[in-house]
């Protein structure tokens, strides 16, 4: 790669060959494992393709999508994902914000608390799901039933959380909140530390109380991290799979089934490739819509390239 002395003084060289060479491995990987299946899903969702069937792919237009939207289980999955987002997003965001505010002070032991709150994030979801099955154990011997019994002076009737159609989804939500809150807290804490101290000092001089300072300095200063946390948590609510598969298998009576769970079921258990592909596309459209909302919200603040 030696260059002639005359050229080497120019630093704004064009490196066409080398640029492509350095980009190529990553580009090849993304093409084969992301772009190709994505295009394949779009194509497959317009057919009656079944894995292992000799009939091959018959073009049926949007029939798979129409059928999906009329399918009771899939409707239930969409509703469950929406409920999941409505439940988890506000609770987890407020919890993470509360923890971040509590830790954004010069207190002794802050590092230890931050470690504790973040610890569940490094736990694999499959393990978290299994441990929480035991926490939700039915009867007075279950940990959560025991805690609730103690808190209500034994007025609590022990429940079978994961087999109760009304409690199973909230139970999975609680598990997810416990696992994920530390992640959001870290992002909000980083955001809090980027707010210049001078603003607070100036406000204190002007006689603003703690509540006013929170409303007029902290919240506006946290605008982008808060938007990010809300959007990411919303997207995660539509990506839920591991907990459902391990804790409830989508039951009881589809009470906890989700879009991704349905897609995996149709792929795995019934070899309905066209249907599974259509579900993947619907799922992607939902995620894309949430992402575009985020871009729009953040663009008013700064140009996202």
């Amino acid at each position: 790669m030696k260059r002639t002395p005359g050229k080497s003084a120019r630093t704004a060289l064009t490196d066409n060959a080398t640029g492509w060479l350095m980009m190529l491995p990553a580009l090849a990987g993304l093409t084969v494992f992301v772009v190709a299946p994505f295009v394949l899903a779009l194509g497959m969702s317009l057919t009656h393709l079944r894995m292992g069937s000799p009939l091959g792919a018959q073009f049926v237009g949007f029939e798979q999508y129409l059928r999906l939207l009329q399918d009771a289980s899939f409707q239930r999955a969409l509703i469950n994902n929406a409920l999941f987002a409505l439940g988890v997003v506000p609770v987890q965001t407020l919890l993470a914000l509360g923890l971040a505010l509590a830790l954004n002070r010069p207190l002794r032991g802050v590092a230890v608390f931050r470690t504790l709150f973040f610890m569940p994030v490094v736990f694999p979801m499959s393990l978290v799901a299994v441990v929480w099955i035991l926490i939700y154990a039915p009867g007075p011997n279950g940990l959560l039933n025991g805690v609730l019994g103690a808190l209500t002076l034994h007025h609590w009737q022990p429940r079978d959380f994961l087999h109760d159609p009304h409690l199973a989804l909230p139970a999975i939500m609680l598990t997810s909140i416990w696992q994920g809150a530390g992640f959001q807290m870290v992002i909000l804490l980083a955001g809090l530390q980027e707010i210049p101290r001078e603003r607070y000092e100036a406000a204190a001089v002007d006689g603003a109380g703690p509540w006013q300072r929170f409303l007029h300095i902290t919240l506006p200063g946290l605008r982008n991290p808060l938007i990010f946390v809300v959007i990411v948590t919303s997207i995660l609510s539509f990506r839920v799979f591991d907990q459902v598969r391990i804790m409830t298998q989508g039951g009881p009576l589809d009470a906890t089934t989700t879009v991704v769970y349905q897609a995996v079921q149709s792929a795995f258990d019934r070899a309905q490739a066209g249907r599974g592909a259509a579900m993947a596309v619907v799922f992607f459209v939902i995620v894309l819509a949430i992402t575009l909302i985020q871009r729009r919200l953040l663009r008013t603040e700064r140009e996202v390239r």
Binding site: W20, L27, V121, L127, F228, R239, A273, A277, A280
Partner: protein, 276 residues
Amino acid sequence: MRRVALKIIHYGLLLGAALVFLAPILFMLAGSLKPDARVLSEAGSWRALVPDGITLENYRAVLARTPFWHYLLNSLLINGLIVGLGLLINSLAGYALARLRWRGRDAVLGAVLAILVIPFEAIAVPLFYQLSLLGWRDDFSVQIAPFVANPLSIYLFYTFFLSLPRELEEAARIDGAGPLRTFFTVVVPNARPVFASVAIVTLLFYWGLYLWPLLMTTGPAVRPLPLGIATFFTLPPLHWGQILAFGVMMVAPVLALFLIFQRGFVRGVASSGLKG
């Protein structure tokens, strides 16, 4: 006086929250060290969170009843290669996008940013069909190859290299080094923090990966730990003490890494977040 009271309340709230966050972890640890029969009988009382009558019997039973070491080695192999190969390939790509001028660069950068919004769950099922058609399944490579090239990693490298001062690279180029040599001799040694952050974020995500190996693998021969615990949990006879012991051993490596490299973890997560 009021100051002291406020401080006490503040610490009280933090301690309460810490107990709630810690309870499931203590429950797991205490249960794994108890005689198996007492895990369920004590689960409804405060004893559930306190290890007493400590025994390693559950751990011995796990190692006897399950191929735990095998699962662990599978996980280490799969994640080691995803992280290692990923650092190489994605840093090269990030550097090409941030620093080199080549025809088509802007289009490729746009494509990488577009791919960034496709979640893996949208790809998993179609990719399962695609690779099944090729007959590629049930080995290590099918659990590694799809995750090596990673748009988030490329993006994190790209933004880091953009912020790196140019002087060192320019000096190397004037001395006649090509872009590849400049990258490996000058840029990489000065980019350790971003390599650490990307490694951590990658490991955090893929160590617990469950959906993909569930779709693509069948036997314990190539399956990683997350499937190990899910399988063990469905095997009669159900011994909760042993399941919890399996869990403690499964999370120990990542937890140890987290406690040693805490700063890197938190910084990696925060940087992947704030740049969203």
